[in-house]
């Protein structure tokens, strides 16, 4: 198995196996778990980390969910392959930075379990679109399956014990990846971020902590993991996401109405640039693809075209571009290659029309 197989496969997010939606790109659940009696990866010596990795990977490989899946060991991968996995959100930057981490990934890439990240086990489940409960149930099943075989560190008073106090308790981080061009264009994003922050939710960029919100894509997640039940955490996040989606639609409708032709012109120009550019930087591509996604949501482009936009957002990232080219490329080379991929993908794309009423 190699990262090439992961790139070639039809995956949940690139081929939207779970169906796609306006505004919410994907729903993600993460559970932090640790084995009893072993030091956390950040404090463990190499022999312990190897023991942890061997035990966890063996158990994970045996679960039905990971049948015909992938096992990737960071120490065996080159920089580019690790970056591809990060860009796909299959592993974190932290896991990719070390040599002793591993990940077991399901065939459709909805489930991935990182081993030896900050905690022994990080269970992740992702679905395209907004499916909070469905995503949660898959994570819950995986958690039960693991807990049935491995003795997990758990305290009656503090719940699941984790390396960092910000994860203890449920170990649950639930998040939605949301596309908010309306709120960004209207200049409301700071206000929204503040409101979410003040109610215990974090707002981050496309690739998580410390990344920029390229393409108006944000990740919204719960902060607190202790003292709230999983159900309460999901309800809290769910309520806010519903509200943010409503606000986003209000902002879009208002913009389309007030700007009229200017609104359509902006979207049409982005399509024009993407179809003709010879050099495209990653952030320029993301921002213009964001306009195309907005056009699909607003009826300015056929809704069926949206899946192609979502795929280009993932495949236009630097490591993906290089992996597809099969070679290391310098910055200009990547921009040239990205432009070529996007031009080819959009050559039969329909024209942008005024929004449907």
């Amino acid at each position: 198995m190699s990262v090439e197989d992961i790139l070639a496969a039809e995956s949940e997010l690139t081929h939207l196996l779970g169906g796609q939606q306006a505004v919410v790109l994907s729903t993600r659940i993460r559970l932090a778990r640790n084995l009893e009696g072993l030091p956390f990866p950040g404090w463990a010596k190499a022999p312990h980390r190897k023991e942890i990795s061997d035990r966890c990977v063996t158990v994970l490989e045996g679960l039905p969910k990971f049948r015909r899946g992938h096992v990737v060991r960071m120490g065996e991968l080159g920089d580019r392959d690790r970056a591809v996995l990060v860009e796909r959100h299959l592993v974190s930057k932290e896991l990719a930075a070390g040599k002793l981490g591993a990940a077991v990934i399901s065939r459709d890439q909805t489930c991935s379990v990182m081993v030896n990240e900050e905690d022994h086990l990080r269970i992740q489940v992702v679905k395209a679109g907004w499916h909070l409960r469905g995503t949660w149930h898959i994570a819950e099943q995986l958690d039960d399956a693991l807990g049935g075989v491995l003795k997990l560190a758990f305290s009656d008073r503090l719940g699941y014990l984790t390396a960092c106090p910000t994860n203890v308790g449920t170990g649950l981080r639930a998040s939605a990846m949301v596309h908010l061009p309306g709120l960004c264009l209207a200049g409301h994003m700071d206000k929204v971020t503040r409101a979410l922050n003040q109610d215990g939710l974090a707002v981050r960029g496309w690739l998580g902590e410390g990344t920029e919100a390229a393409g108006n894509v944000f990740q919204i997640s719960n902060q607190q993991t202790l003292g709230l039940s999983e159900d309460a955490i999901l309800r809290h996040l769910g309520g806010w996401i519903k509200h943010v989606v409503e606000q986003e639609w209000n902002a879009r409708r208002k913009l389309a109405q007030e700007e009229g032709e200017k609104f359509v012109d902006r979207l049409a120009r982005s399509l024009g640039v993407l179809r003709s550019a010879r050099l495209l930087t990653s952030s320029e591509a993301m921002n213009m693809l964001s306009h195309l996604r907005l056009a699909c949501d607003m009826g300015c482009l056929p809704e069926e075209s949206r899946h192609l936009v979502d795929r280009l957002m993932i495949e236009g990232q630097p490591a993906h571009v290089q992996a597809r080219a099969g070679q290391e490329l310098d910055s200009d080379g990547r921009d040239r290659r990205r432009a070529a991929v996007v031009r080819e993908a959009l050559k039969d794309f329909p024209e942008v029309v005024p929004p449907s009423a």
Binding site: N34, E36, G37, L38, P39, F40, G42, W43, E118, E140, D143, D144, G147, G148, L152, A153, F154, S155, D156, R157, L158, G159, Y160, L161, A163, C164, P165, T166, V168, G169, T170, L172, D190, T193, N197, Q198, G200, L201, A202, V203, R204, G205, E209, G210, T211, Q223, Q224, T225, L226, G227, L228, S229, E230, A232
Partner: protein, 159 residues
């Protein structure tokens, strides 16, 4: 002239000043230009980090018997050494948990086969109070539901 306020994350002079209200408590963080630009200004985790860094430096007084991790290691890394550290440092971490978490007690799932006794006891106490209130308010439907819940909790605890 007054001294410039120091950045909560590094040693530079702070130019960005943030306040956050959580459960009615106001917390302040001061950031320099560089730390604010790194995304700190929009990330609530900055408050947690600043709180942990601002705590007074104690001598290493606690060592985990299981893995040799000390309280000074925690101050340096912000992460614990092993699951047993939670027992060793539990009390010392209580204050931090109150700041970064909702409540300092778990109310969620447990691994298969584990009965979360403390959690069930807390729920039992709460349910008894709720039932008394329901009876006083003549909400007998709710009282009956709570009575069943209390009976179920008592059965679980007895096993």
């Amino acid at each position: 002239m007054s001294q410039p306020i120091q950045c909560s994350l590094c040693e530079e002079a702070a130019t960005v000043h943030l306040s956050q209200v959580v459960h009615g408590k106001v917390r302040k963080v001061h950031l320099c230009e560089a730390c604010a630009q790194k995304g700190g200004a929009t990330d609530p985790a900055v408050f947690q980090l600043a709180d942990a860094l601002a705590a007074p430096t104690p001598a290493p007084t606690l060592t985990c018997p299981q893995c040799g991790f000390t309280d000074l290691d925690f101050r340096k890394r912000g992460r614990l050494g092993c699951p047993s550290c939670w027992e060793t440092f539990g009390e010392a971490l209580g204050g931090l948990l109150l700041k970064v978490q909702h409540e300092p007690a778990h109310v969620g799932r447990a691994p298969a086969g584990v009965v979360p006794v403390a959690q069930l006891r807390r729920r039992l106490d709460a349910a008894r109070l709720e039932m008394a209130a329901a009876v006083a308010g003549e909400d007998f439907e709710a009282a009956a539901r709570l009575r069943d819940e209390i009976a179920a909790l008592e059965r679980q605890l007895a096993s």
